[in-house]
Symmetry: C2
Subunit: 577 residues, 2 copies
């Protein structure tokens, strides 16, 4: 197992065995620890001193179910904080298949040197000129690279948004079908990749599921137990498996926490028209798929393939995307939502940030609320790099400044996902305090607040939310390090043998003896490292707050403001004192 | 003497006698102390919790020469810091003439309530509907209000940039001729005024120079001595008086510290074509004025009236404006510079920020370097509120993000004025550490670095710059509180009776016994208050730094980087420890 470093200034590639202090680490733990150790916190996120780290999870490349997620890390041009964003697809498994624990992109070429492709294969690593791939969308880039390098390669790429260094740009990778729309979307890491003039990474690995495991039999037994736990939980075994993440649309709407019309209400009359039930019905009727695996070995299969009226296929339409491009903009038409989602995937934008931004432009009167055609037309300007396109690509905080809008639902300048903090206060604590900026995946309090999984905390009460969010952020930081899909948090929170089975997999894989204590200690270490980086980068307690309007404007139907005081939010990090 | 508070939410106006702790304070001391005491540091700068404070200086309304500057303060939407920006013109004297020490604008109307005018006169204060003034440029607004309320009124106004809440928007006021182009330009306080939906303030005061003075005879004697000192100094008595601030263009170019082509070089081949000598020649030939007083009672008369080819008159073209809109953009044509300057004045933009931004757009390739026609066309989009206009109005840091440009010469997101920190390192220390963001007026090290006034510190050496900047920042904070034009710093730094005469004026005015110690203590108190506000607002040491490129790219002709380490910059505030 090794690290690969690619110096884009010198165009030099070097390899090193995994240093002892990083042994048994992967995913978020590895990317965050490397960024914190090697990146100057005050550096310009788009300058030569930032680094971009790709790290498969601890269990990547093994037969652990749903364990192939790829972590991408660096300093974020969107939030100014450390950033880890992870994605499904096959690239995590492929990197692990080549024995690559971390791929570290450093330095920056001169503009006149053009764009590059990095090719990783059993015969080594090489930088190639990107040629005519520069300027293309991720779908075409992925198609062309799969034609050139083989259908089974993984392609990690950026679209024009990343090339133009837009803070809303994500890093795309593909599923086993070659669909490039699995995204490490959040925080503008696509712009960091763009600043390094790296258009794509091709990972050509013949192997799959054959990463080294210290005790194969023990591992297999534990993996089987873990799969059983995942399949036994109603969310991961049934809800997600039947309707994907968009099963949440009607649930969150019912709960009154569905941010609607740029966070002015908690319910959307058109929710059912863009929800999971409708999606499944239309997708199947059009020959698409209501369920689909984003990576081989996934037993939840929460993804989908939604055929659009123009013949293209948007895969997947996730709940948070359908919300951002739908309810947030009062667009109640799944075909429009799918079209907007497809454009984001192709141009290389985070759907949450892009949808959030369209909502802000609607608040500003630049686009009328609910006007899908105008939204599509505006979003298409991103790829063209027009001034409006540049504003959209930079995200909601930026668009709010441009148009003088103060009702902008961001934390650390990153747009909030599909849950209003006034209707589910636990998630508000996570948005405010996560070192990543507003991010539901950083501590998914919706489980205990609304789904009654992993506890039961009244979503409208101030009580218990800080403890809930802290515990979830710690577990999540550990889980993001394993390469596991976050959804396994449901069985982990509710079923007694899930965590033991997960630990048994890790122990069998690395010949270690982790108890829950070691697992949680890893989560705390990751969070602490991230927060310390942020403090050195100039982000303190004052940045762990929600926007002013959420403390002043009551959200219907529950007529709630976000009323958890700053001093209580700061208690999320009491384990750092 | 009193404070007037205008609550824009309730449309209520209240008056209070000056509280004891603010007695004898004015200008920057008063505005910064009030903002620090009354504004929540974490508030949204364009939200209802920010306040906008107008404060004439301690000596405003007296016969002290050049003492009528008006301080404007609030939390800046550009820098996120506390902000004080001051302007010449007649409004400081007029406010003092009404006995107003501070005018505090609070709260915020609803958008549907429209725009307001605040009228201040001996008969009281009232809010009036702005009617058809909304949307107009500052020239027309000022003309109409002078027609409606009398030719002698002072008008404080914003242009469309402020109405659109652009972070580059300034607050305009007029000279005795009714010309509205005296600006508290920096830091976006025009946007704060816009957020409060206050289009203009009319100050109708019959008096002038009759503010209360405790000991009139002593005062008159001190004022006479002070005038003699100002007139005796070669800069204030001769250089500025003959050619205005733009006398600096050729001097700074000669010194190799004139930022050219977006800070890629320190000398501009076309400098002479946009400098003070040329300006005086053309202005006089066209029937304009090479010198002009921005306020009654000014004995330096460094302003000018430059007739443009289209018949309009740009008054003044300051050095920093001519640099930003000229050398920085490689525009070597004074008529184009004047036209750009006029547009800024009319639409209500800070010329330094606007010129800085145009240079960044040139770096991005949006406008070709040196293309005056395209620059004019682009700048005209600001008033139209197009997406490009919105980007320009938000300033250089914003435009850099929008177009992926990292060579952006900002500190705390405010664009640097006309002196490259690599060619005059003392000013770099001021840019980095001033609580205001990059601001030459906050500690004008160019004096000792280049003009050899107030000391002699090698501009290219690291040595002595931190001490120089600290001392200047302290004196300046005190001087900005008096209402005096900053140029009196030249005699204060070089002539022995200047400071005693200034202190004698203050002592005679307020019946106090200030020595230089009290004066410097005031400066330290102001700076400390400002910096503490910033820290509470989330701005720490990491924000007291220059952009990365200045530590990496050598500036021709001296081949210097900015090499003063962060820990040394932090020593500017050693008096706070």
């Amino acid at each position: 197992m090794e690290f690969i470093r690619v110096n884009m200034s010198a165009k030099e590639i070097s390899r090193q065995p995994v240093p002892e202090q990083y042994r048994a680490l992967g995913g978020r733990a590895l990317s965050s620890l490397l960024v914190a150790a090697e990146v100057v916190p005050g550096c310009h996120p788009l300058g030569e001193d930032n680094k971009l780290v790709f790290a498969p999870g601890m269990l990547a490349g093994t037969r652990a179910p749903s364990s192939g997620r790829l972590s991408v890390g660096g300093k974020s041009p969107l939030t100014g904080s450390i950033k880890e964003s992870n994605a499904g697809g096959i690239s995590g498994q492929k990197l692990a298949g080549l024995g690559i624990r971390a791929l570290i992109i450093e330095g920056m070429p001169k503009e006149e040197e053009g764009w590059f492709i990095l090719k990783l294969s059993p015969s080594g690593a090489e930088l190639l000129p990107a040629g005519d791939l520069a300027g293309l969308g991720t779908y075409e880039v992925t198609d062309k690279l799969r034609k050139a390098h083989g259908e089974k390669v993984a392609v990690i790429s950026i679209g024009p948004a990343g090339e133009m260094k837009m803070a809303g740009a994500g890093v795309a990778t593909n599923d086993a079908d070659g669909n490039s729309s699995r995204y490490a979307g959040r925080g503008g890491l696509g712009a960091v990749m763009g600043s390094k003039r790296l258009k794509a990474i091709v990972v050509d690995s013949p192997g799959s599921f054959d990463a080294a495991v210290a005790h194969p039999e023990k591992f297999q037994e534990a993996a089987k137990r873990f799969s059983e736990q995942v399949l036994a939980h109603p969310v991961t075994g049934q809800g997600l498996a039947a309707l994907g993440t968009n099963v949440l649309m009607n649930i969150i709407n019912e709960a009154g926490a569905l941010p609607t019309r740029n966070f002015t209400r908690g319910q959307f009359a058109g929710a059912n028209n863009i929800g999971g039930e409708k999606l499944a019905e239309v997708a199947v009727a059009r020959g698409g798929k209501a369920t689909h695996a984003c990576m081989p070995g996934c037993i939840m299969r929460c993804s989908n393939e939604y055929p659009l009226p123009d013949g293209k296929v948007c895969s997947p339409i996730e709940y948070e995307s359908a919300w951002a491009l739908g309810a947030h903009c009062e667009i109640g038409d799944l075909d429009v939502v799918g079209k907007l989602n497809y454009i984001c995937n192709d141009v290389g934008l985070d759907t949450i940030e892009a949808g959030g931004t369209l909502g802000v432009l609607m608040e500003a009167g630049v686009i009328p609320f609910g006007d899908g055609a105008k939204a599509v037309e505006s979003l298409e300007e991103v790829g063209k790099g027009t001034p409006l396109g540049r504003i959209i690509g930079q995200g909601a905080g930026f668009a709010g400044k441009a148009f003088g809008v103060t009702r902008v639902a961001v934390a650390k300048n990153q747009h909030m996902p599909a849950y209003d903090p006034r209707g589910a206060k636990g998630i508000g604590v996570t948005y405010a305090t996560s070192p990543m900026g507003a991010d539901h995946t950083a501590g998914y309090a919706i489980g205990a607040n609304i789904l009654k999984s992993g506890g039961d905390v009244n979503p409208l009460s101030k009580e218990g939310q800080v403890d809930l969010s802290r515990n979830l952020q710690i577990v999540t930081a550990a889980l993001d390090s394993t390469g596991m899909c976050l959804f396994v948090a449901f069985p982990l929170g509710d079923l007694p043998d899930a965590l033991p089975a997960l630990l048994d997999m890790i122990n069998a894989c690395y010949d270690v003896q982790w108890t829950p204590n070691e697992f949680l200690a890893l989560g705390r270490q990751v969070l602490k490292t991230e927060r310390e980086f942020n403090i050195r980068a100039g982000l303190g307690k004052i940045h762990d707050r929600l926007p002013e309007f959420m403390e002043k404007e009551k959200l219907a139907p529950h007529k709630q403001i976000f009323d958890i005081p700053g001093e209580e939010l700061d208690q999320v990090f009491n384990f750092m004192d």
